[in-house]
Symmetry: C2
Subunit: 227 residues, 2 copies
Amino acid sequence: MLRHLSPSHWQALSASCREIRELPARTIVTLKGERVRESLLLVGGMMGRYVPRPVGARAQMVALQVLGDFVDLHGLPLGVLDHEIRTVTDVQLAVFDHADLLDLIDREPDLGMALWSLTMIDAAIHRHWAFRMAALRATVRLANLFCELETRLALCGAVTGDGYDLPLTQIDLADACGMTAVHVNRVLRDLREGGCCTLVKGRLRILDGVRLHRLGAFDPAFLYLPD
Amino acid sequence: MLRHLSPSHWQALSASCREIRELPARTIVTLKGERVRESLLLVGGMMGRYVPRPVGARAQMVALQVLGDFVDLHGLPLGVLDHEIRTVTDVQLAVFDHADLLDLIDREPDLGMALWSLTMIDAAIHRHWAFRMAALRATVRLANLFCELETRLALCGAVTGDGYDLPLTQIDLADACGMTAVHVNRVLRDLREGGCCTLVKGRLRILDGVRLHRLGAFDPAFLYLPD
DNA sequence: CGTATGCTTGAATCACGTCAACTGATGTGG
DNA sequence: CCACATCAGTTGACGTGATTCAAGCATACG
């Protein structure tokens, strides 16, 4: 979502980046209830926010973070997180100390408002996830997720040629959509045989974008696209 | 969520309230895509945020606002809303002009952070709704919603005696939980016959709070309760 | 090699939606 | 006052979308 920051804000921000950190896939970055003192900007790979569940059950994914997302900026005003943050793939993260960010906001209130806006777009995406889970059936739900990711990834130029890289397993997709991996598999087959899209070796190929958007009942208004 | 503001912040804020507005039930307050120039603090009644759906289908409720909620504070940094806001019951609203709020934040950056925090708690509630829709089955889902509302309403003293006022129809509950009104009816019967709670004439009576919380798999961490 | 992981498919089961009918409460106009 | 419409709630019968359980395959890896 970096496109939502002005160049000058972006410059001020990047100057206070403390380090670039690399983490492998399937790593827990922040635990539920943990005190957070830094915020992470995702510059490579994918991460997820998860609500833990009773032992034996997999956690429920409630957000998927992609290139350009400020992953746990929510922890800046709150100081504590109510959910887990994990890497899904290998990731590269730009690390910002909360103390530095607060300094920056103090000196440039405009930047503070811009960062607040970023978190409000996150909130809009959360609402969309609630909508998707509640109102859409499996096939529409998955198609809708693919449309959302296409739009968000296009913002940072990560949609190329016939689709985009989506290095998620069918289990990840099931976690993201509140369904079983078996059913994800069947829905993917339907989408493939229906000529909408294919997901092979971590790449989503969009065969018919118009049909995919129509099938997924997708309206990108909630992403507050610039321009 | 007024309990999350300090007394001094609360005092500064209430001084800039422009008016108290009353609206009848089932009124659309803000349309999707509409420019917003004021924010509304709910001081009586209930409202909802809705994602519109194709003609013929009812809109999907994605948030329920109760006494003490700053209903569309999200519109302050963004300027536009991506969803509809409607009253569910008759409501009383304290109205704040965005211009006044921005002034206030300018003079008291701390208050700005406090307001940001309020919206971040909203975001946490959104995540919880996504979790509830995706991970919980009908009975657990409804029980969980009742627990959430109990906790939120208790924050402003609206839980009295054996329960709280919940002036929602079964259709409203269906919209809030992503299920049909018929199924809500059956689940309510199960909860009643199971000795958990009853919903009669707009009042939720909690017969066995412990059982309700256990059945609803409820963990209030996401509400960032004070103290 | 053997083992783990992800993908794929079939058959049985279950949760929930759909359709339909009926009730009781409330309201409205003749 | 009654006839009628409307709306929320209730219940039964039936259909279907999704889960569960199970088995089989392919690929990667130590």
